[in-house]
Amino acid sequence: MMKQAGSSSNIFSIKYRLKRLKRDSNRWSIFTLAIILFIALPIISIGVKLFAGPGETWGHIVDNLLLDYIGNSLFLVFVCSFLVLLFGVSSAWLVARFEFPLRKQMEWLLILPLAIPGYIVAYAYAGVFDYGGSMDLIFRWLGWDFIRIDIMNKAGLAFVLSISLFPYVYVSSRAFFLNQANNLLEASTILGVGEFKSFFKLMLPLARPAIIAGLILVLMEVLNDYGAAQYYGVNTFTTGIFRAWFSLEEPETAVYLSALLIVIVFALILFEKWQRRNIKVSSARSNNTYIHRKSSSKFSQFLILLVVLIPVVLGFFIPVLQLIYWATLTFEKVFDLDFLMLSLQSFGIAILTAMITVLFATFLIYFSKWSFLGFIKNIARMGILGYAIPGAVIAIGIMIPTLAFDKWLIGALDYLFSIKTGLLINGTLVALVYAYCVRFLAVAFNPIESTSLKVSNTIPDSSKMLGVGNLKTFFRIEFPLIKTGILSALILVFIDVLKELPLTLILKPFHINTLAVKAYEYASDEMIMEAAIPSLFIIFTAALPVIFLNKLLIKK
């Protein structure tokens, strides 16, 4: 016994561990590390650049603007949280729990606001409430006095962001209500607890982790927003980064603001992890049955429909109708061959990026699976943190190393071969796609990972036992089984790239344009009506897959 105890502690001595590390490291471990390094490079370069010290105007910003940035960003975080919870949770509960007319249609209509980027909702609402805007016209037509609501301020900004982002909370809490609530709800009903009390005392606390997970996504998008805040004239961290980069031409200051923003985002992520600390894996409750819907009187059914319609009308129909109205006014001016070419370019970039990002996400998932080192699997998951980091920050983080690399390359080529070239990565499509890839890796990662988890490990293991290696096993066995996950990943990244604005503004090559940037340019140039057509192109392209994906998810 003494000998055994001695030898088993010996097995975990550092020398022995190193031996095993050497034995168990394979190329897949190295590839995984390489991908993570590639993804983390923008953040690392921001961290390194911090040591170079802040720019000249940093002191001025700290004294005069920083409080404004922090105050406004916090205001947005709190007000948006309140509003998206109000819209998202209530509609999710009503749709999941009650039977009412048009319920099926409402299920997917409530997701549609996600198809409209926040800045486009902002443009549309500016048009609705402006002098001579839609409200004004309708009021005059009705013969009423127009009471103008000023929406171009931070309260208005919080409203437009909330109304376009609440579906994240709707989707995550609805999934909980549909699949995990039924047993408890039935128990609660049997105990004679009423509908209201059941919801507030039972469902709300239980759904909290799901709701907050959705909320965190919303808040990341809120902090990421540039277009809406800029148009409404609200100073936030993101607009601050843009100002430092473009107006003040001080990269160092942009870096300092970015670093601060990263700290805020990671605080949010830690908060989310902390609030889930006592929650066991949800599959523990997987024996739950699908929720049973209640049907009530005709009148209350009608009331429920009205309540659910509010966010749909505010978040989708009003902005879309406003844009369609503008589009009819500006159609002849905007819609020409150049615009079609621009759309094709935009779609092309989105498709290319979607394919590359999905490829990287798949690599990351499977390479880390094929690596035998436990820590590699944890590191691989860090690759998806890019989604938390605002686009403007990623853009700055990519500018720095690519610019340095290009300068080095130009120097080296000139020195070695006397070849004179311009910038090779910075300011080209490569840098833009790279940045998209960093930002949207998580968007591709999650659907692929969740379908891959549905394939039992014994399936690829069986293939290996039959003498077939990892790569072949992937193509012959796993790929056919995770096709739907890959397809959803492609679609989701495609939509996100199409909608993306801040990162694209900073990194896009001079001669290349996207629909999002075109809409932004029109809006910034006081041609808000002309922004309608590119906006509608984005919305309709994004809306079709949203409906399709919802069908796919419900089928499962």
């Binding site: 088993s8 097995i11 975990f12 095993r20 399936i459 036992m465």
Partner: protein, 328 residues
């Protein structure tokens, strides 16, 4: 054929061991059952042999070549081991024939070989069906055919019958091992069911908390278990503690542990050691009746009997030749 030396695996960096210092050998053509409760390390052991897990310590030799040690690991696809999983793990998007063909796609007469294999397991007529169109027992046989097709040097079956109901299980068990014996392949068969192990294996290896408790021929294990644990795995066993020894007035070596199998107890007949008992409770279990007895010295004892007419007071006893003695 298979030689395993002090194999250890921990999933929590040495705090606890799923497998600890396991060593054993297997000769060619042997069928060895690995028996243990859930969590005893059975599945870890076979996954280490297959190369699907990496050992923290120890070595594995297969047909004279080292496939696993602290310095070197041969990847699972190069070990020529066939593995049948508990949940069969058939490829859901391939037909039966394609499933069986999968591992032999580089062989010359692959079609013929695959068809032979399906014939061996009696599923020729279904070669174009997909796994989900099959019953559990049929899926099991396909998994076996698929594993045997590349002619593996070692076949591992991990709890192959645990997802089947009792009737089908017995039927399939004899079918499967007939096939295995026909092919003459060396096989390791993991089970928590000792009936399974006794009925088909030449040798049985008992695992408890990741350590080998005993490895012996099937019959020997039953007759000469080396611990109360092993004895109790193979049938109802009553440990003869001091109180019971005094009740039966049987003086036994105080340095050893003793036990007696339930089936060796006699009721109302003459034996070397006897005592009287009051029947406190009778529970009807179908083939047996469970009796809760209170012995004359106050000790309580639960026994099973096939006897249907049990009086309120009985005489029970056993013979010294049936006493199992353990040194630890």
């Amino acid at each position: 054929m298979l030689n395993i030396k002090s194999l250890s695996k921990s999933f929590d960096k040495g705090k606890s061991f799923a497998l600890k210092e396991v060593s054993f050998k297997l000769e060619k053509g042997d069928i060895c059952a690995v028996v243990g409760e859930s969590g005893s390390g059975k599945t870890t052991l076979v996954r280490l042999i297959a190369g699907l897990e990496r050992p923290d310590h120890g070595s594995i030799e297969l047909e004279g070549t080292e496939v696993s040690s602290i310095k070197k690991l041969v990847s699972p696809e190069k070990r020529k081991i066939g593995l049948v999983f508990q949940e069969y793990a058939l490829f859901p998007h391939l037909t039966l024939l394609e499933n069986v063909l999968y591992g032999i796609s580089k062989q010359k007469n692959k079609k013929q070989r695959a068809k032979e294999m399906l014939e061996l397991v009696g599923l020729t007529a279904m070669e174009n069906r997909y796994p989900h169109q099959l019953s559990g027992g049929q899926q099991q046989r396909v998994a076996l055919a698929r594993a045997l097709a590349p002619n593996p040097s070692l076949l591992i079956l991990d709890e192959p019958f645990s997802n089947l109901d009792a009737m089908l299980r017995m039927q399939l068990r004899s079918q499967v091992f007939e096939i295995i014996k026909k092919t003459g392949v060396t096989a390791i068969f993991v089970t928590h069911d000792t009936q399974d192990a006794l009925s088909v294996a030449d040798e049985i290896l008992i695992l408890q908390h990741g350590e080998v408790i005993q490895k012996d021929a099937a019959a020997n294990l039953y007759i000469k278990p080396n611990s109360v644990y092993v004895a109790s795995l193979f049938g109802n066993t009553i440990q003869l503690n001091k109180e019971l020894q005094s009740a039966f007035e049987c003086p036994l070596n105080a340095n050893c542990c003793h036990a007696i199998r339930n089936e060796s107890l006699t009721i109302n007949s003459e034996c070397e050691y006897v005592t009287y008992a009051n029947v406190l409770k009778k529970t009807f279990l179908g083939d047996n009746i469970q009796l809760l007895l209170k012995l004359d010295n106050g000790e309580q004892l639960t026994v099973l009997t096939k006897e249907r007419n049990i009086a309120d007071k009985i005489k029970i006893g056993f013979n010294s030749k049936d006493v199992l003695e353990f040194t630890s």
